[in-house]
């Protein structure tokens, strides 16, 4: 009987469990990159509008996270890294995650379009669609290139931030997009090298599962080489400057060195020191992205005092 007593045995979901559905850690990266995209733009938004823009971009990212948790509940339950998420843990029903994901998608897109402009709202809608449908439903389980193309979803926030402020897409917005887009594969493949067991058990065709770790190591170095021109080129646009260039040169040299070390190692060496190099490159990759966007922010912050920019 579907009355209130039948729910007594269920684990009760608290407010925090619904917040967990929105992937707050991913959201924090989205907030940071979108904020940088918005602040480095040549048009200054009213602080209330800027705050609303960032909030609704983050909410849109959260909505796509909830949709992802609804769709991927079966594989999340298998992987150690994800099995404590609210849906596989039995705290939130899959249908609730779907409902929250759809409702927040609609609210965030409409509110961003109303607060800033239609193009920003449309880009956010496309990002949610890309992450939930193209990545989660289609690519993730069908091709080892899943994270390469799926990385685009994570690359859109700074572009949306820029468009929210200016109303148009520019070369600067595209380069910020490319920076995250090209950074995603080496970042996730470094993770996959030492989390391989998880993905193979869940049947997710990560590159490490389908092509082996040797091939993954080669892919990491190739994608890192391809990333460098985009990271450096950003320095010579209107949002770049000497501070960014100096930071980018150092970070890219270090990232290349890390990718090279991963490429030169084999599985025996990696197993012997418990993937020490792979883990350190993975951690460094987080710092790499944070400092690139931090440098862009520094350029914008120093510009009024005559320091930032060329």
């Amino acid at each position: 009987m579907a009355d209130i007593r039948s729910f007594d045995d269920m684990k009760e979901a608290g407010f925090g469990d619904f917040v967990q559905l929105l992937k707050p850690r991913v959201m924090s990266l989205v907030v940071f990159t979108a904020l940088v995209g918005l602040l480095v733009a040549p048009v200054h938004l009213h602080p209330v509008v800027g705050f609303a823009a960032i909030l609704f971009i983050a909410l849109g990212a959260g909505a796509s996270g909830a949709l992802n948790m609804w769709w991927d509940a079966d594989i999340d339950a298998i992987m150690r890294r994800t099995k404590s998420r609210p849906v596989p843990a039995g705290k939130v029903e899959a249908g609730e995650a779907l409902g929250i994901g759809l409702a927040l998608s609609g609210i965030s897109v409409v509110m961003l379009a109303l607060a800033t402009n239609i193009l920003a709202g449309a880009l956010l809608a496309f990002t949610i669609f890309f992450y939930a449908v193209v990545y989660s439903m289609w690519l993730k389980r069908s091709t080892p290139q899943n994270i390469v193309i799926g990385g685009a979803a994570g690359a859109f926030p700074p572009m949306i931030g820029w468009v929210a402020a200016t109303g148009y897409i520019s070369v600067e917005a595209c380069l910020m997009f490319m920076l995250i887009f090209m950074w995603t594969p080496p970042h996730f493949w470094a993770l996959a090298l030492f989390m391989n067991e998880d993905y193979s058990q869940a049947g997710v065709p990560m590159l490490t599962v389908t092509h082996g770790k040797k091939s993954t190591r080669k892919h990491i170095i190739l994608y890192t080489i391809a990333l460098v021109p985009f990271a450096i080129a950003t320095a010579f646009t209107s949002i770049g400057g000497p501070i960014y260039l100096a930071v980018a040169v150092v970070l890219n040299a270090e990232f290349l060195r890390g990718a090279y070390r991963i490429w030169r190692r084999d599985e025996d060496q990696a197993a012997a020191d418990k993937y020490k190099v792979e883990k350190s490159v993975f951690r460094f990759s987080l710092l790499y992205l944070f400092l690139h966007f931090g440098a862009l922010l520094a350029e914008a912050a120093l510009r009024p005092y005559g320091f930032g920019g060329w």
Partner: protein
């Protein structure tokens, strides 16, 4: 008139209800703030602020 004793679910769901209530309250406040900013556009504009238009606050100066 007497109130019914509080059901156990009200206690159990208190944190969730409080959270949803707070979020909705913040949303209303944000929409209000956005409305004020959009309407005033940062400063108190006057509608149709061109000389001669209906509602203009600028005086019409007759041509000599």
């Amino acid at each position: 008139m007497t109130f019914k004793p509080e059901h156990e679910i009200h206690k159990r769901r208190f944190s969730r209800n409080l959270g949803v209530g707070t979020v909705l309250g913040c949303f209303v406040a944000l929409v209000f703030a956005l409305t004020v900013v959009k309407v005033t556009n940062g400063d108190m504009m006057h509608a149709n602020d061109a000389p001669g238009l209906l509602g203009s606050t600028q005086p019409i100066v007759p041509k000599p």
